[in-house]
Amino acid sequence: MTLELDQVAVSYGTTRAVDAVSLEVAEGDVLALVGPSGCGKSSLLRAIAGLVPLTAGTIRWQGADITNVPTERRDIGFMFQDHALFGHRTVADNVAFGLRMRGIGRVEREERVAELLDVVGLTDFGSRSVEGLSGGEAQRVALARALAPRPRLLLLDEPLASLDRARRDELNDELSRVLRRLGQTAIYVTHDQLEAFAIADVVGVMTAGRLVRTGTPAAVWTDPRTDFVAEFVGHETIIEREGQRYAVRADAVTFVPVVDGSDDDTVVVADVVRAEVQSCQFQGDRHRLVAVDASGRRWIGWVDTPSVSGSVVEVRLDDTKLALLGSAPQERR
C-alpha cells in the first residue's frame, strides 16, 4: 500500500476532530472521504498534508514514516476549498510556484506550466491575473498548480464546493478524467456522496471523527452496513423484517398508482404499503418520488411518470435490493 494511516488522531484543544482513523490508499487510487460538515474529514486531510500536527498515530508512505516530515517535504499536492490562489501573481506564476520551490529551471518550468494549462483547458491564460478568474477557471488553475510538481499524492479538499451545480458536474467529470489519465493517487474530500461516487475508486465515510465504512462506491452504496452510512448515501428508509434491519435503496422501490375509490390504506401484503405522494421532482430522465405512509415512514424511489402530490401509491419492494444493516437497532429520528 502506498499511503497508510495507523490510528491517526487530531485534536484541537479538547475537541477530537479525528479519532483513531486507519486507512490505506493504493497507488493510482482515488479515495473519496465523505461525511457531513464537521465530521473531521478536512482535518484528516490536513493532517495527511502535515498542515496540522497529529496527536496520535502514524502516517507512512511506502512503508516510510512521514508523520514528522514538514509539509513542504511531503511531496504532495493540495487543492483547497476556496482554491487559495496567490492573488498577487499571474496564472502561470501560480502554476509554476511548486516547480520553483523544487528548484526547477525556467525553461522546464515554462514547458510544464504550458502543459498543465493545456490539461485543464486554460491554454492562453498564463499571463492573466488570478483575481479576474471565474470560479471554474480558478478551480482549474488550482488543479494545475497542485499537479504541476507531479506530487506523489494529491489531496483535494472540497474543490468543487464553491461552484454552481452545472459547473460542478462538468468539472467533476474533468477532474476524474485528469486523475485517471495521470494515474494520480489522490484523496478527495467532499460532503456530497454523488460527487464522491463519481470520482472515487474507494469511498470512506466519516462521522464524528471516525472512519465508519470504506469500500468501492458500489459496495458502499449497495452495502452501507450501518444506519448512518445508509442514510448518508441516500437510503433514508429503514425497515425491519424477520428481526433483521434493512436499508431500502431507491432502486428497490416501485410505486404503483392506486385508482380513486379504493382508499383502503391498510397494508395488504407484507411488502405492499400504501402511501400518499408528498413530492415528485422532475430529474430529467426520471422523477424522484417521495411518499409517506400511514405510520409516517418516508419512501423514496424513482418513477418514469410523475404522480400528483396527494395521490396515493402502492409501495413495492424488490427484496434483492435491500441492504442488510448491522443488527444493533439504532433508530434515528
Binding site: R73, D75, R89, D93, R100, M101, R102, G103, G105, R106
Partner: protein
Amino acid sequence: MKTKLFVFAMLFALLAAACSGDDGASVRELGDDESSESASSGSASSGSGSASSSSESASSESASSESTSSASASEEAADEPEATDDVASDDDDGTVAPADDAESEEAADVDEAADVEECPTITLITHDSFFLSEGTLQAFSDETCISVEQLAGGDAGQLVSSAILTKDNPNADVLFGIDNTFLQRGLDADLFLPYASPALANIDPSLILDPENRVTPIDFGDVCANYWIEALPGDVPTSLDDLLDPVNEGQFVTQNPETSSPGFAFLLATIAKYGDDWEDFWQGLVDNGVTITAGWEDAYYGAFAGYGGPSSIVMSYASSPPAEVLFAAEPIDEPPTGVLFDSCYRQIEFAGILDGTEYPDAAAQLIDFMLGTTYQEDIPLNMFVYPVNPDAVLPPEFVEFGPLAENPLSLSPEEIEANREAWTERWVEIVLG
C-alpha cells in the same frame, strides 16, 4: 557625500528586491534541508542580501555592546602592552571612575595621537544658530593643518546640558555657544580646561567673565526691545518705564524666560535695572497687556507689527535693525525698526576647551583663531552679534544701524545661576498667574 550615495544605492536595491517579480533567484534543491533553509530564511526576512547584512551588523553590535568592556579592553591591552602603565597613573586623578575600558581607550588614543599629532581633526560643537561663511574654518586648517569638524548640538540650553551629561566622554574638543546666562552652570560642572589665549590681551576686560580663563569670550550682543517705527501708537519709547505707559497698552510682546533665551535675558535686564522692585515692573507689564510667546520666532514673525502682528514693540536684539536692512525685500536706506537701548541686556558667548579632549593643543589653536580677525570679522553678518576683538572691522550696516547700548544691563553669572530657578518661578507666578 559618499555615505549619501551608499544609502541611496542600498535602499534602491532593497526596494527593488522587495517589489520586483520573482526570478530564478530562489533556486533550491528539493530535500535540501536545514542549511539551505536557514540561508533562505535570512533573505526572506529582509528582502535582500544587503539588508540582512546590515541587520546582522546591528545584531552583532548589540552582542558586542554587552561584552564591550571586557573584550575591547583586553584586546587593546594586548595591542598596547605599555598602556597598562598609563592606566595605573591615570587612576590617581580619580576622575574617570567606572569604566576601565575608557582608560585603556584613552591610552590607546594617546598612542594613536602621537602618530598624527601634527594634523589632527578636532571637533567643534556649537548651538544650532552657529554659522560662518564658507572657507572661514578652512583658513584655520590651511594655517595650522588642523581639520575642524563642526557639529550643531541643539539650542544653547541643549548644548550645555548635553555637555554636562557627556562630560566623562565628550563628543567634541571645543564647545562654542555657552553664554553668560548658562556660564556658571558649565563652570560648576568643570566642563572646560583653562586656557589663556594671548589674544585676550586685546579684549575688553568686561567681557572676560571667568578669571581662570576656562572659557574665552568670542562674541557679544545686546538683547533689546525693538519697535516698528510706523506702528507705534505714541512717541518713540526711550526707557523701560515707557512700556508701562497706557498708550502702549497691548503693544509689547516678549518671550517666556523658561523657553527662550532673549526672554530670559529681558527678565535679567529688569532685575538688573529695578533690583527687588522687578516684580512690580512685571506686574505693571501684565496690567498693560504684555504678550508672552514661547520663542523669538513667534514673537517677531508672529506678533510683531512689521509682520502682520498686533504688537509694535518686541523683545529682540540690537542687531535686528541691520538685519532688517540687509534682508529687506526692496533696498532701503533706513531700518523700519528702532532699538529701546534702556532695555538692553548684554549677552556674551564663550568658547571653551572640553575637558577630556585628546588634542588640547590643537583646541587651543582653534580658540586663538576664533579670536583672530579672520574669524571675528566673519561673525557679524552670519550670527548678528558683535566680535569681541576690537581690531575686527565691522560691516557698514552694523556701524550705521547697529550701535550697541552704552550702558547695557548685566548680572554676574554666579548670581544668575544661584537665582535662576527662584526668579523664573516668581516670574511665572506674576505673569502667568
